[in-house]
């Protein structure tokens, strides 16, 4: 890990992590721009919106918290809503433990603090075997450096330009299109198709649950169906990748 050959490998992995996130991050940047605008439009001052962007760094949780904060909701309601939006990260963290669990606590938490959805999806695609290896941290750092900048810069621009971008343009939808493309590229094999369709249907059917719990229902349904199908009707080996 500390040899010359290892160092070169590290730089390559850093670049690879960076390269693989550039394309899907463009839509996320549009989403960040809109989140920046939304923070100001919901009544936060520029310093508070800047702090929120830099420190919270969780777009969907921020967007869920904003209307509640604007409406003067109690703090625990704001936090409960954000926690539910972030429940998927709790699920992801069980997976991160497989890769980062052997590090000291401060390092583990510093690493995962900046782990956005895209970083997780791309990392698991790059390292499908849930075991630690020396390429993982440089790959991860490349990935999160780019995604942090591609979120924060447009978010800060959005804060600065809030009043000049018409809300009717609905530019936040570019972020949804980014997630849609990412979902398509994650599909591999029949069982993953079924799991995705079940999750989509569950999220729509459970949409009226409070606090965005429909996302949690969707994850539970998709994972449950995927596991059931794996047991009853396994994909062929190559479809699993």
């Amino acid at each position: 890990m500390t040899t010359n050959a290892g160092a070169v490998n590290h730089r390559e992995e850093f670049r690879r992590g960076l390269r693989e996130i550039v394309e899907p991050s463009f839509g996320i940047s549009a989403w960040a721009l809109v989140t920046g605008v939304a923070m100001i439009k919901s009544g936060l001052s520029v310093p508070l919106a800047t702090l929120m962007s830099l420190a919270v760094y969780a777009g969907s949780a921020q967007l869920a918290a904003l209307p509640l904060m604007a409406a003067g909701a109690p703090l625990w309601v704001v936090w409960a809503a954000a926690f539910c939006m972030n429940l998927r990260f709790v699920i992801f963290s069980a997976h991160w433990r497989k890769y980062f669990g052997h590090f000291p606590r401060a390092k583990r938490l510093a690493l995962t603090y900046v782990a956005a959805d895209l970083n997780y999806v791309l990392f698991v695609r790059r390292f499908p075997d849930p075991e630690p290896s020396p390429e993982q941290v440089p790959y991860y750092l490349g990935s999160v450096c780019w995604s942090w900048l591609s979120w924060e810069i447009p978010s800060l621009i959005g804060i600065a330009l809030a009043d000049r971008i018409p809300a009717e343009w609905d530019l936040g939808f570019a972020g949804v299109l980014a997630l849609l493309g990412l979902a398509y590229s994650t599909l591999s094999g029949r069982n993953s198709w079924v799991a995705a369709l079940v999750a989509a249907a569950a999220a729509v059917a459970a949409f009226h649950l409070p606090l965005k719990l429909n996302i949690v229902v969707a994850i539970a349904a998709g994972v449950g169906v995927g596991m059931l199908l794996d047991r009853l009707w396994p994909d062929s080996a190559e479809a699993r990748r």
Binding site: E23, P24, F26, G27, G43, L44, L48, A55, V56, A61, Q62, G72, V78, A82, N86, F89, V90, F92, S93, A94, W96, R97, F100, G101, R105, R108, L109, T112, V114, D117, V121, V124, P130, D170, F173, A174, V176, L177, A178, L180, G181, A183, Y184, S185, S192, A195, A196, A199, A201, A203, V204, V217, A218, I219, A221, G222, V223, G224, M227, D230
Partner: protein
């Protein structure tokens, strides 16, 4: 919410980011997930993506979109067609967003 309350709210939200993202890494105790759960986690990112995306495309104000002249439906259909053709995420975003803006600003959908 006052500025001070918003400040406290933001500090709490920051703590939530740290705690949720590192949830299973908080404990120093070594513990292993059962193998069935590890296999199931393969589906978690895809299920979350599908769960976030589907309502954004199919619902408007909490009800299924009834009118086919919907800029978001158009954007998603165009993005899907592009992805089937070229398998690129950036093209999916650009084609979808471009057609959505054209429909909104050009056709007044």
């Amino acid at each position: 919410m006052s500025g001070a309350q918003s400040f406290v709210a933001i500090l709490g939200l920051t703590a939530i980011s740290v705690v949720t993202r590192g949830f299973f890494l908080l404990s120093a105790r070594e513990w292993r997930l059962p193998p069935w759960l590890t296999r199931g986690l393969r589906y978690a990112p895809l299920a979350a993506l599908a769960g976030i995306v589907a309502p954004e495309i199919l619902l408007a104000n909490g009800a299924l979109v009834g009118d086919w002249k919907d800029p978001r439906l158009l954007a998603a259909a165009a993005g899907t067609a592009y992805f089937c053709w070229r398998r690129g995420i950036l093209g999916t975003i650009v084609i979808g967003t471009g057609l959505m803006l054209a429909a909104k600003l050009g056709l007044g959908w």
